[in-house]
Amino acid sequence: MTAIGSKTTPTLSRPPGAPVYLDYQATTPCDPRVVEAMLPWFTEKFGNPHSRNHRYGWEAEEAVEKAREQIADIIAADSKEIIFTSGATESNNLALKGVAHFYKEKKDHIITVVTEHKCVLDTCRHLEQEGFSVTYLPVKADGLIDLGELEAAITDRTVIVSVMAVNNEIGVIQPLAEIGALCRRKGAFFHTDCAQAVGKIPLDVNAMNIDLMSISGHKFYGPKGIGALYVRRRPRIRLVPMINGGGQERGMRSGTLPTPLCVGIGEACAIAKAEMAEESERLKGLQHRLLGGLRQRLPEIYVNGDLENRIPGNLNISFAFVEGEGLMMGVKDLAVSSGSACTSASLEPSYVLRALGVDVEMAHTSLRFGLGRFTTSEDIEFAIDHIVEAVEHLRSMSPLWDMHLEGVDLKSIKWAEH
Protein backbone atom coordinates (compact mmCIF):
# COMPACT_ATOMS: atom_id res chain seq x y z
CA MET A 1 0.00 0.00 0.00
CA THR A 2 1.32 3.44 -0.89
CA ALA A 3 1.71 5.62 2.15
CA ILE A 4 -0.19 8.85 2.43
CA GLY A 5 1.93 11.91 1.89
CA SER A 6 4.84 9.97 0.49
CA LYS A 7 6.45 11.07 -2.75
CA THR A 8 5.04 7.96 -4.34
CA THR A 9 1.53 9.11 -5.19
CA PRO A 10 0.14 6.25 -7.24
CA THR A 11 -0.32 6.56 -10.96
CA LEU A 12 -3.31 5.36 -12.93
CA SER A 13 -2.79 3.64 -16.23
CA ARG A 14 -5.08 4.43 -19.10
CA PRO A 15 -6.59 1.65 -21.20
CA PRO A 16 -5.10 1.63 -24.72
CA GLY A 17 -6.92 4.03 -27.02
CA ALA A 18 -8.77 5.78 -24.20
CA PRO A 19 -8.72 9.58 -24.39
CA VAL A 20 -6.59 11.59 -21.98
CA TYR A 21 -8.88 12.56 -19.11
CA LEU A 22 -8.98 16.34 -18.62
CA ASP A 23 -12.37 16.65 -16.98
CA TYR A 24 -11.49 16.56 -13.28
CA GLN A 25 -14.27 19.03 -12.38
CA ALA A 26 -16.87 16.55 -13.63
CA THR A 27 -15.48 13.78 -11.47
CA THR A 28 -12.22 12.21 -10.41
CA PRO A 29 -11.11 8.60 -10.40
CA CYS A 30 -10.92 7.00 -6.97
CA ASP A 31 -7.39 7.05 -5.64
CA PRO A 32 -6.24 3.39 -5.49
CA ARG A 33 -5.39 3.98 -1.82
CA VAL A 34 -9.01 4.96 -1.22
CA VAL A 35 -10.28 1.81 -2.90
CA GLU A 36 -7.90 -0.30 -0.88
CA ALA A 37 -9.13 1.21 2.37
CA MET A 38 -12.75 0.62 1.35
CA LEU A 39 -12.56 -3.00 0.28
CA PRO A 40 -12.74 -4.85 3.62
CA TRP A 41 -15.88 -2.91 4.51
CA PHE A 42 -17.81 -4.54 1.68
CA THR A 43 -17.09 -8.12 2.67
CA GLU A 44 -15.70 -9.34 5.96
CA LYS A 45 -16.48 -6.12 7.82
CA PHE A 46 -19.98 -5.67 6.50
CA GLY A 47 -21.75 -4.79 9.76
CA ASN A 48 -24.38 -2.11 10.16
CA PRO A 49 -22.67 0.79 11.89
CA HIS A 50 -25.88 1.40 13.84
CA SER A 51 -25.99 -2.13 15.29
CA ARG A 52 -25.18 -1.70 18.95
CA ASN A 53 -25.17 -5.32 20.05
CA HIS A 54 -22.20 -7.02 18.45
CA ARG A 55 -18.74 -6.65 17.08
CA TYR A 56 -19.81 -6.32 13.46
CA GLY A 57 -21.68 -3.18 14.32
CA TRP A 58 -19.04 -1.80 16.64
CA GLU A 59 -16.20 -2.08 14.16
CA ALA A 60 -18.30 -0.50 11.42
CA GLU A 61 -19.28 2.32 13.76
CA GLU A 62 -15.66 2.87 14.63
CA ALA A 63 -14.80 3.08 10.95
CA VAL A 64 -17.47 5.66 10.11
CA GLU A 65 -16.52 7.72 13.16
CA LYS A 66 -12.90 7.69 12.07
CA ALA A 67 -14.01 8.85 8.62
CA ARG A 68 -16.11 11.58 10.20
CA GLU A 69 -13.00 12.78 12.01
CA GLN A 70 -10.94 12.72 8.82
CA ILE A 71 -13.56 14.90 7.12
CA ALA A 72 -13.76 17.27 10.07
CA ASP A 73 -10.00 17.46 10.11
CA ILE A 74 -9.59 18.78 6.58
CA ILE A 75 -11.93 21.71 7.26
CA ALA A 76 -10.84 22.31 10.89
CA ALA A 77 -14.24 21.33 12.28
CA ASP A 78 -15.37 19.00 15.05
CA SER A 79 -16.48 15.53 13.95
CA LYS A 80 -19.84 16.05 15.70
CA GLU A 81 -20.52 18.73 13.11
CA ILE A 82 -20.28 16.37 10.12
CA ILE A 83 -23.36 14.69 8.63
CA PHE A 84 -22.94 12.07 5.94
CA THR A 85 -25.07 12.53 2.81
CA SER A 86 -25.16 11.04 -0.68
CA GLY A 87 -23.20 13.92 -2.21
CA ALA A 88 -23.07 17.66 -2.60
CA THR A 89 -26.45 17.81 -4.33
CA GLU A 90 -28.13 16.40 -1.24
CA SER A 91 -25.97 18.50 1.08
CA ASN A 92 -26.93 21.68 -0.75
CA ASN A 93 -30.61 20.73 -0.65
CA LEU A 94 -30.44 19.90 3.05
CA ALA A 95 -28.55 23.05 3.96
CA LEU A 96 -30.85 25.42 2.09
CA LYS A 97 -34.21 23.74 2.58
CA GLY A 98 -33.37 22.58 6.10
CA VAL A 99 -32.38 26.04 7.32
CA ALA A 100 -35.09 27.89 5.38
CA HIS A 101 -37.80 25.63 6.77
CA PHE A 102 -36.55 25.70 10.34
CA TYR A 103 -36.32 29.47 10.60
CA LYS A 104 -39.22 30.39 8.31
CA GLU A 105 -41.32 32.04 11.03
CA LYS A 106 -38.63 34.64 11.62
CA LYS A 107 -36.82 35.02 8.31
CA ASP A 108 -37.71 34.34 4.70
CA HIS A 109 -34.92 35.70 2.54
CA ILE A 110 -32.06 33.78 0.89
CA ILE A 111 -29.07 35.15 -0.99
CA THR A 112 -27.12 33.18 -3.54
CA VAL A 113 -25.13 33.82 -6.73
CA VAL A 114 -26.04 33.43 -10.40
CA THR A 115 -23.01 31.20 -11.10
CA GLU A 116 -23.87 28.56 -8.49
CA HIS A 117 -24.25 24.92 -9.45
CA LYS A 118 -27.70 23.96 -10.73
CA CYS A 119 -28.45 22.03 -7.54
CA VAL A 120 -28.25 25.26 -5.53
CA LEU A 121 -30.13 27.36 -8.08
CA ASP A 122 -32.87 24.79 -8.56
CA THR A 123 -33.27 24.37 -4.80
CA CYS A 124 -33.64 28.14 -4.50
CA ARG A 125 -36.28 28.14 -7.26
CA HIS A 126 -38.24 25.59 -5.27
CA LEU A 127 -37.97 27.67 -2.13
CA GLU A 128 -39.20 30.69 -4.10
CA GLN A 129 -42.27 28.68 -5.09
CA GLU A 130 -42.86 28.01 -1.40
CA GLY A 131 -42.87 31.75 -0.75
CA PHE A 132 -39.28 32.52 0.19
CA SER A 133 -37.64 35.42 -1.57
CA VAL A 134 -34.26 34.83 -3.17
CA THR A 135 -31.65 37.34 -4.29
CA TYR A 136 -29.34 36.08 -7.05
CA LEU A 137 -26.18 38.15 -6.86
CA PRO A 138 -24.37 38.88 -10.12
CA VAL A 139 -20.63 38.33 -10.53
CA LYS A 140 -17.98 40.64 -11.91
CA ALA A 141 -16.16 39.90 -15.17
CA ASP A 142 -13.61 37.88 -13.19
CA GLY A 143 -16.35 35.60 -11.84
CA LEU A 144 -16.14 36.87 -8.25
CA ILE A 145 -18.93 38.53 -6.29
CA ASP A 146 -18.80 42.14 -5.19
CA LEU A 147 -18.72 42.21 -1.39
CA GLY A 148 -20.41 45.60 -1.34
CA GLU A 149 -23.31 44.17 -3.30
CA LEU A 150 -23.55 41.24 -0.91
CA GLU A 151 -23.55 43.55 2.06
CA ALA A 152 -26.28 45.69 0.53
CA ALA A 153 -28.40 42.61 -0.19
CA ILE A 154 -28.38 41.26 3.40
CA THR A 155 -31.40 42.42 5.40
CA ASP A 156 -32.77 41.44 8.78
CA ARG A 157 -35.02 38.99 6.89
CA THR A 158 -32.01 37.17 5.40
CA VAL A 159 -31.68 33.73 6.94
CA ILE A 160 -28.87 32.30 4.83
CA VAL A 161 -26.26 33.36 2.28
CA SER A 162 -25.06 30.58 -0.03
CA VAL A 163 -21.90 31.23 -2.04
CA MET A 164 -19.87 28.45 -3.62
CA ALA A 165 -16.18 28.28 -2.77
CA VAL A 166 -14.90 27.21 -6.20
CA ASN A 167 -16.88 27.37 -9.41
CA ASN A 168 -17.12 24.11 -11.31
CA GLU A 169 -16.82 25.67 -14.79
CA ILE A 170 -14.21 28.36 -14.33
CA GLY A 171 -12.47 27.31 -11.11
CA VAL A 172 -12.53 30.77 -9.52
CA ILE A 173 -12.29 30.98 -5.73
CA GLN A 174 -14.72 33.30 -3.95
CA PRO A 175 -13.40 35.33 -0.98
CA LEU A 176 -14.80 32.99 1.68
CA ALA A 177 -13.24 34.61 4.74
CA GLU A 178 -14.58 38.04 3.79
CA ILE A 179 -18.02 36.67 3.00
CA GLY A 180 -18.06 34.75 6.29
CA ALA A 181 -17.08 37.78 8.32
CA LEU A 182 -19.76 39.86 6.62
CA CYS A 183 -22.48 37.27 7.22
CA ARG A 184 -21.49 36.89 10.85
CA ARG A 185 -21.58 40.64 11.37
CA LYS A 186 -24.98 40.93 9.68
CA GLY A 187 -26.51 37.93 11.46
CA ALA A 188 -27.10 35.65 8.45
CA PHE A 189 -25.92 32.06 8.22
CA PHE A 190 -23.18 31.37 5.68
CA HIS A 191 -23.44 28.21 3.59
CA THR A 192 -20.80 27.35 1.04
CA ASP A 193 -20.85 24.63 -1.61
CA CYS A 194 -17.32 23.26 -1.35
CA ALA A 195 -17.76 20.39 -3.79
CA GLN A 196 -14.92 21.74 -5.94
CA ALA A 197 -12.89 23.18 -3.07
CA VAL A 198 -12.28 20.41 -0.54
CA GLY A 199 -8.83 18.95 -1.06
CA LYS A 200 -7.96 21.74 -3.50
CA ILE A 201 -7.65 24.80 -1.24
CA PRO A 202 -7.16 25.15 2.53
CA LEU A 203 -10.49 25.50 4.35
CA ASP A 204 -11.12 26.44 7.96
CA VAL A 205 -14.74 26.74 9.09
CA ASN A 206 -13.86 28.88 12.10
CA ALA A 207 -11.36 31.22 10.51
CA MET A 208 -13.79 31.67 7.59
CA ASN A 209 -16.96 31.87 9.70
CA ILE A 210 -18.60 29.13 7.70
CA ASP A 211 -21.84 27.81 9.22
CA LEU A 212 -22.70 25.09 6.71
CA MET A 213 -20.50 23.45 4.08
CA SER A 214 -21.34 20.94 1.36
CA ILE A 215 -18.77 18.29 0.45
CA SER A 216 -18.72 15.70 -2.35
CA GLY A 217 -16.55 12.58 -2.27
CA HIS A 218 -16.09 12.03 -5.99
CA LYS A 219 -14.59 15.44 -6.69
CA PHE A 220 -11.42 14.69 -4.74
CA TYR A 221 -10.57 11.06 -5.47
CA GLY A 222 -13.16 9.54 -3.17
CA PRO A 223 -16.11 7.40 -4.23
CA LYS A 224 -19.30 8.62 -5.91
CA GLY A 225 -22.52 8.54 -3.94
CA ILE A 226 -21.14 9.96 -0.71
CA GLY A 227 -20.79 13.48 0.58
CA ALA A 228 -21.09 15.40 3.77
CA LEU A 229 -22.67 18.48 5.23
CA TYR A 230 -20.84 20.43 7.89
CA VAL A 231 -23.36 21.99 10.31
CA ARG A 232 -21.98 24.36 12.94
CA ARG A 233 -22.66 23.49 16.59
CA ARG A 234 -21.56 26.73 18.26
CA PRO A 235 -23.68 28.70 17.74
CA ARG A 236 -25.93 25.82 16.85
CA ILE A 237 -27.58 25.77 13.43
CA ARG A 238 -30.90 23.92 13.28
CA LEU A 239 -32.26 22.08 10.24
CA VAL A 240 -35.52 20.46 9.31
CA PRO A 241 -34.47 17.05 7.92
CA MET A 242 -35.50 16.05 4.41
CA ILE A 243 -35.23 12.32 5.04
CA ASN A 244 -37.07 10.94 8.05
CA GLY A 245 -36.52 7.54 9.56
CA GLY A 246 -34.37 5.89 12.19
CA GLY A 247 -32.90 9.17 13.36
CA GLN A 248 -29.31 8.53 12.27
CA GLU A 249 -26.94 11.47 11.84
CA ARG A 250 -28.49 13.20 14.88
CA GLY A 251 -31.88 13.10 13.22
CA MET A 252 -30.79 15.29 10.33
CA ARG A 253 -30.38 12.47 7.82
CA SER A 254 -31.85 9.07 8.51
CA GLY A 255 -30.71 5.90 6.80
CA THR A 256 -28.01 3.28 7.32
CA LEU A 257 -24.60 4.74 6.65
CA PRO A 258 -22.73 3.13 3.72
CA THR A 259 -19.62 2.11 5.66
CA PRO A 260 -17.33 1.52 2.64
CA LEU A 261 -18.23 4.88 1.12
CA CYS A 262 -17.77 6.67 4.45
CA VAL A 263 -14.35 5.04 4.82
CA GLY A 264 -13.54 6.06 1.25
CA ILE A 265 -14.39 9.74 1.63
CA GLY A 266 -12.53 9.78 4.96
CA GLU A 267 -9.42 8.30 3.40
CA ALA A 268 -9.70 10.74 0.48
CA CYS A 269 -9.69 13.60 3.02
CA ALA A 270 -6.66 12.21 4.83
CA ILE A 271 -4.73 11.88 1.57
CA ALA A 272 -5.77 15.33 0.37
CA LYS A 273 -4.82 16.94 3.65
CA ALA A 274 -1.36 15.40 3.55
CA GLU A 275 -0.68 16.03 -0.12
CA MET A 276 -2.66 19.13 -1.04
CA ALA A 277 0.18 21.65 -0.86
CA GLU A 278 2.49 19.60 -3.04
CA GLU A 279 -0.23 18.54 -5.45
CA SER A 280 -1.35 22.10 -5.86
CA GLU A 281 2.18 23.23 -6.77
CA ARG A 282 2.50 20.46 -9.33
CA LEU A 283 -0.88 21.27 -10.91
CA LYS A 284 -0.02 24.94 -11.02
CA GLY A 285 2.98 24.01 -13.14
CA LEU A 286 0.83 21.94 -15.49
CA GLN A 287 -1.83 24.64 -15.73
CA HIS A 288 0.83 27.22 -16.52
CA ARG A 289 2.38 24.98 -19.17
CA LEU A 290 -0.97 24.23 -20.80
CA LEU A 291 -1.97 27.87 -21.03
CA GLY A 292 1.53 28.97 -22.08
CA GLY A 293 1.79 26.26 -24.71
CA LEU A 294 -1.55 27.20 -26.24
CA ARG A 295 -0.95 30.94 -26.12
CA GLN A 296 2.42 30.56 -27.75
CA ARG A 297 0.93 28.82 -30.77
CA LEU A 298 -2.61 30.13 -31.04
CA PRO A 299 -3.73 33.74 -31.39
CA GLU A 300 -7.17 34.89 -30.24
CA ILE A 301 -7.65 32.67 -27.22
CA TYR A 302 -9.11 34.00 -24.00
CA VAL A 303 -9.19 32.67 -20.44
CA ASN A 304 -12.63 32.87 -18.86
CA GLY A 305 -12.62 33.85 -15.19
CA ASP A 306 -9.89 35.21 -12.99
CA LEU A 307 -6.55 33.45 -13.42
CA GLU A 308 -5.09 34.37 -10.02
CA ASN A 309 -8.02 33.44 -7.76
CA ARG A 310 -8.43 30.04 -9.34
CA ILE A 311 -7.68 26.45 -8.44
CA PRO A 312 -4.68 25.18 -10.41
CA GLY A 313 -6.67 22.23 -11.73
CA ASN A 314 -8.91 24.33 -13.99
CA LEU A 315 -8.62 26.30 -17.18
CA ASN A 316 -11.58 27.55 -19.18
CA ILE A 317 -10.61 28.96 -22.55
CA SER A 318 -12.50 30.49 -25.45
CA PHE A 319 -10.97 29.73 -28.83
CA ALA A 320 -12.42 32.54 -30.91
CA PHE A 321 -13.94 31.59 -34.28
CA VAL A 322 -14.22 27.86 -33.56
CA GLU A 323 -17.36 26.42 -32.06
CA GLY A 324 -16.87 24.47 -28.83
CA GLU A 325 -18.67 21.29 -29.70
CA GLY A 326 -17.04 21.11 -33.10
CA LEU A 327 -13.75 21.56 -31.30
CA MET A 328 -14.52 18.81 -28.79
CA MET A 329 -15.08 16.49 -31.71
CA GLY A 330 -11.73 17.59 -33.11
CA VAL A 331 -9.91 16.82 -29.86
CA LYS A 332 -11.38 13.37 -29.65
CA ASP A 333 -8.33 11.99 -27.86
CA LEU A 334 -9.05 14.32 -24.94
CA ALA A 335 -11.98 14.03 -22.55
CA VAL A 336 -13.00 17.65 -21.91
CA SER A 337 -16.19 19.68 -21.49
CA SER A 338 -17.54 22.57 -23.51
CA GLY A 339 -19.48 25.65 -22.48
CA SER A 340 -21.11 25.63 -25.87
CA ALA A 341 -24.83 25.39 -26.21
CA CYS A 342 -24.60 22.44 -28.48
CA THR A 343 -23.59 20.08 -25.72
CA SER A 344 -26.79 20.67 -23.80
CA ALA A 345 -30.35 20.11 -24.87
CA SER A 346 -31.20 23.74 -24.13
CA LEU A 347 -29.11 25.30 -26.94
CA GLU A 348 -28.22 28.07 -24.50
CA PRO A 349 -24.50 28.55 -23.95
CA SER A 350 -23.11 28.27 -20.42
CA TYR A 351 -24.99 30.47 -17.96
CA VAL A 352 -21.80 30.80 -15.95
CA LEU A 353 -19.85 32.32 -18.84
CA ARG A 354 -22.82 34.53 -19.71
CA ALA A 355 -22.88 35.76 -16.11
CA LEU A 356 -19.27 36.93 -16.47
CA GLY A 357 -20.39 39.04 -19.39
CA VAL A 358 -18.70 36.76 -21.94
CA ASP A 359 -20.39 37.35 -25.32
CA VAL A 360 -22.71 34.59 -26.43
CA GLU A 361 -20.42 34.26 -29.45
CA MET A 362 -17.39 33.65 -27.25
CA ALA A 363 -19.28 31.42 -24.85
CA HIS A 364 -19.93 29.12 -27.79
CA THR A 365 -16.20 28.72 -28.35
CA SER A 366 -15.15 27.64 -24.86
CA LEU A 367 -13.62 24.45 -23.53
CA ARG A 368 -13.05 23.50 -19.91
CA PHE A 369 -9.85 21.67 -19.03
CA GLY A 370 -9.73 19.95 -15.65
CA LEU A 371 -6.37 18.69 -14.43
CA GLY A 372 -5.82 16.49 -11.42
CA ARG A 373 -3.84 13.99 -9.42
CA PHE A 374 -3.19 11.59 -12.28
CA THR A 375 -2.53 14.16 -15.01
CA THR A 376 1.06 13.94 -16.22
CA SER A 377 3.20 16.43 -18.06
CA GLU A 378 3.12 14.05 -21.05
CA ASP A 379 -0.67 14.38 -20.99
CA ILE A 380 -0.34 18.15 -21.13
CA GLU A 381 2.19 18.13 -23.99
CA PHE A 382 -0.08 15.77 -25.91
CA ALA A 383 -3.08 18.00 -25.18
CA ILE A 384 -1.32 21.13 -26.41
CA ASP A 385 -0.37 19.56 -29.74
CA HIS A 386 -3.78 18.03 -30.20
CA ILE A 387 -5.68 21.23 -29.38
CA VAL A 388 -3.46 23.44 -31.53
CA GLU A 389 -3.88 21.11 -34.48
CA ALA A 390 -7.67 20.94 -34.08
CA VAL A 391 -8.10 24.69 -33.63
CA GLU A 392 -5.94 25.47 -36.65
CA HIS A 393 -7.83 22.96 -38.75
CA LEU A 394 -11.24 24.28 -37.69
CA ARG A 395 -10.18 27.89 -38.15
CA SER A 396 -9.10 27.04 -41.69
CA MET A 397 -12.71 25.89 -42.19
CA SER A 398 -14.31 28.80 -40.33
CA PRO A 399 -15.92 31.64 -42.29
CA LEU A 400 -15.60 33.77 -39.16
CA TRP A 401 -11.84 33.26 -39.01
CA ASP A 402 -11.58 34.41 -42.66
CA MET A 403 -13.64 37.48 -41.87
CA HIS A 404 -11.46 38.19 -38.86
CA LEU A 405 -8.33 37.94 -41.04
CA GLU A 406 -9.93 40.30 -43.58
CA GLY A 407 -10.51 42.78 -40.76
CA VAL A 408 -14.29 42.48 -40.81
CA ASP A 409 -15.87 43.39 -37.48
CA LEU A 410 -18.26 40.52 -36.86
CA LYS A 411 -20.40 42.77 -34.71
CA SER A 412 -21.02 45.06 -37.69
CA ILE A 413 -22.76 42.28 -39.62
CA LYS A 414 -26.49 41.88 -39.45
CA TRP A 415 -26.77 38.18 -38.70
CA ALA A 416 -30.04 36.37 -39.14
CA GLU A 417 -30.47 34.87 -35.67
CA HIS A 418 -32.30 31.62 -35.89
Binding site: F321, V322, A341, C342, P399, L400, L410, W415
Partner: protein
Protein backbone atom coordinates in the same frame (compact mmCIF):
# COMPACT_ATOMS: atom_id res chain seq x y z
CA UNK B 1 -23.37 12.76 -27.72
CA UNK B 2 -22.61 9.95 -30.09
CA UNK B 3 -22.40 10.95 -33.74
CA UNK B 4 -23.42 8.85 -36.71
CA UNK B 5 -20.65 7.40 -38.84
CA UNK B 6 -21.63 9.70 -41.71
CA UNK B 7 -21.33 12.81 -39.55
CA UNK B 8 -17.93 11.67 -38.35
CA UNK B 9 -16.82 10.92 -41.90
CA UNK B 10 -17.81 14.39 -43.16
CA UNK B 11 -16.29 16.02 -40.08
CA UNK B 12 -13.00 14.19 -40.47
CA UNK B 13 -12.89 14.37 -44.26
CA UNK B 14 -14.89 17.43 -45.17
CA UNK B 15 -15.64 17.66 -48.91
CA UNK B 16 -15.13 20.91 -50.77
CA UNK B 17 -13.81 23.14 -48.01
CA UNK B 18 -12.68 26.46 -49.38
CA UNK B 19 -13.78 29.61 -51.09
CA UNK B 20 -14.66 30.82 -54.58
CA UNK B 21 -14.15 34.37 -55.79
CA UNK B 22 -17.26 36.12 -54.57
CA UNK B 23 -16.75 38.93 -57.12
CA UNK B 24 -17.03 36.44 -60.00
CA UNK B 25 -20.42 36.89 -61.72
CA UNK B 26 -20.75 33.11 -62.02
CA UNK B 27 -20.43 32.65 -58.26
CA UNK B 28 -23.29 32.82 -55.77
CA UNK B 29 -22.52 33.14 -52.05
CA UNK B 30 -24.84 32.29 -49.19
CA UNK B 31 -23.91 33.26 -45.63
CA UNK B 32 -26.42 32.06 -43.06
CA UNK B 33 -26.64 31.56 -39.31
CA UNK B 34 -25.17 33.71 -36.56
CA UNK B 35 -22.14 33.47 -34.29
CA UNK B 36 -24.42 34.02 -31.31
CA UNK B 37 -26.34 30.89 -32.21
CA UNK B 38 -23.19 28.83 -32.51
CA UNK B 39 -23.31 28.19 -36.23
CA UNK B 40 -22.51 30.12 -39.39
CA UNK B 41 -22.34 28.55 -42.85
CA UNK B 42 -20.87 30.06 -45.97
CA UNK B 43 -21.81 28.14 -49.10
CA UNK B 44 -20.64 29.15 -52.55
CA UNK B 45 -21.69 27.80 -55.92
CA UNK B 46 -20.17 28.37 -59.36
CA UNK B 47 -22.75 28.19 -62.11
CA UNK B 48 -21.94 27.39 -65.75
CA UNK B 49 -23.40 29.25 -68.73
CA UNK B 50 -25.84 26.32 -69.06
CA UNK B 51 -27.13 26.91 -65.55
CA UNK B 52 -25.42 23.88 -64.03
CA UNK B 53 -23.65 24.10 -60.65
CA UNK B 54 -20.14 23.04 -61.60
CA UNK B 55 -18.42 23.74 -58.32
CA UNK B 56 -19.36 24.29 -54.69
CA UNK B 57 -17.31 25.25 -51.64
CA UNK B 58 -18.13 25.78 -47.99
CA UNK B 59 -16.74 27.09 -44.75
CA UNK B 60 -18.61 26.50 -41.52
CA UNK B 61 -18.34 27.62 -37.91
CA UNK B 62 -20.32 25.13 -35.89
CA UNK B 63 -20.62 21.74 -34.33
CA UNK B 64 -19.85 18.47 -36.09
CA UNK B 65 -23.40 18.19 -37.43
CA UNK B 66 -23.27 21.67 -38.91
CA UNK B 67 -19.95 20.95 -40.60
CA UNK B 68 -21.23 17.61 -41.92
CA UNK B 69 -24.49 19.15 -43.19
CA UNK B 70 -22.67 21.80 -45.18
CA UNK B 71 -20.08 19.35 -46.48
CA UNK B 72 -22.84 17.01 -47.63
CA UNK B 73 -24.78 19.68 -49.52
CA UNK B 74 -21.70 20.77 -51.45
CA UNK B 75 -21.56 17.20 -52.75
CA UNK B 76 -25.24 17.11 -53.53
CA UNK B 77 -25.52 20.40 -55.42
CA UNK B 78 -22.61 19.75 -57.78
CA UNK B 79 -23.86 18.85 -61.25
CA UNK B 80 -27.40 19.94 -60.48
CA UNK B 81 -29.32 22.77 -62.13
CA UNK B 82 -30.31 25.67 -59.89
CA UNK B 83 -33.90 24.45 -59.86
CA UNK B 84 -32.85 20.96 -58.90
CA UNK B 85 -30.57 22.24 -56.16
CA UNK B 86 -33.38 24.35 -54.80
CA UNK B 87 -35.43 21.23 -54.14
CA UNK B 88 -32.97 19.82 -51.58
CA UNK B 89 -34.84 19.61 -48.30
CA UNK B 90 -33.48 19.77 -44.78
CA UNK B 91 -35.25 16.50 -44.03
CA UNK B 92 -33.18 14.78 -46.75
CA UNK B 93 -29.99 16.09 -45.14
CA UNK B 94 -31.08 15.11 -41.64
CA UNK B 95 -32.07 11.67 -42.85
CA UNK B 96 -28.84 11.07 -44.76
CA UNK B 97 -26.70 12.07 -41.75
CA UNK B 98 -29.01 10.47 -39.15
CA UNK B 99 -29.11 13.71 -37.19
CA UNK B 100 -30.74 13.55 -33.74
CA UNK B 101 -33.65 15.95 -33.06
CA UNK B 102 -31.47 18.57 -31.31
CA UNK B 103 -29.35 18.81 -34.46
CA UNK B 104 -32.14 19.25 -36.99
CA UNK B 105 -31.46 23.00 -37.06
CA UNK B 106 -28.07 22.24 -38.65
CA UNK B 107 -29.81 20.67 -41.64
CA UNK B 108 -32.24 23.59 -41.81
CA UNK B 109 -29.30 25.92 -41.94
CA UNK B 110 -27.70 23.94 -44.77
CA UNK B 111 -30.91 24.16 -46.79
CA UNK B 112 -31.02 27.90 -46.12
CA UNK B 113 -27.42 28.18 -47.28
CA UNK B 114 -28.22 26.60 -50.65
CA UNK B 115 -31.21 28.88 -51.12
CA UNK B 116 -29.15 31.92 -50.16
CA UNK B 117 -26.35 31.03 -52.57
CA UNK B 118 -28.82 30.52 -55.42
CA UNK B 119 -30.57 33.81 -54.65
CA UNK B 120 -27.25 35.63 -54.58
CA UNK B 121 -26.24 34.16 -57.92
CA UNK B 122 -29.56 35.06 -59.51
CA UNK B 123 -29.40 38.56 -58.16
CA UNK B 124 -25.86 39.11 -59.45
CA UNK B 125 -26.58 37.68 -62.86
CA UNK B 126 -29.81 39.61 -63.22
CA UNK B 127 -31.89 36.43 -63.35
CA UNK B 128 -33.72 37.22 -60.18
CA UNK B 129 -37.27 38.36 -60.88
CA UNK B 130 -37.63 39.89 -57.44
CA UNK B 131 -34.37 41.84 -57.78
CA UNK B 132 -36.07 44.16 -60.26
CA UNK B 133 -38.55 45.19 -57.65
CA UNK B 134 -35.92 46.14 -55.07
Amino acid sequence: MAYSDKVIDHYEHPRNVGALDKEDAAVGTGLVGAPACGDVMKLQIKVSAEGIIEDAKFKTFGCGSAIASSSLVTEWVKGKTLDEAATIKNTDIAHELALPPVKIHCSVLAEDAIKAAIADYKKKSGKDDSAAAE
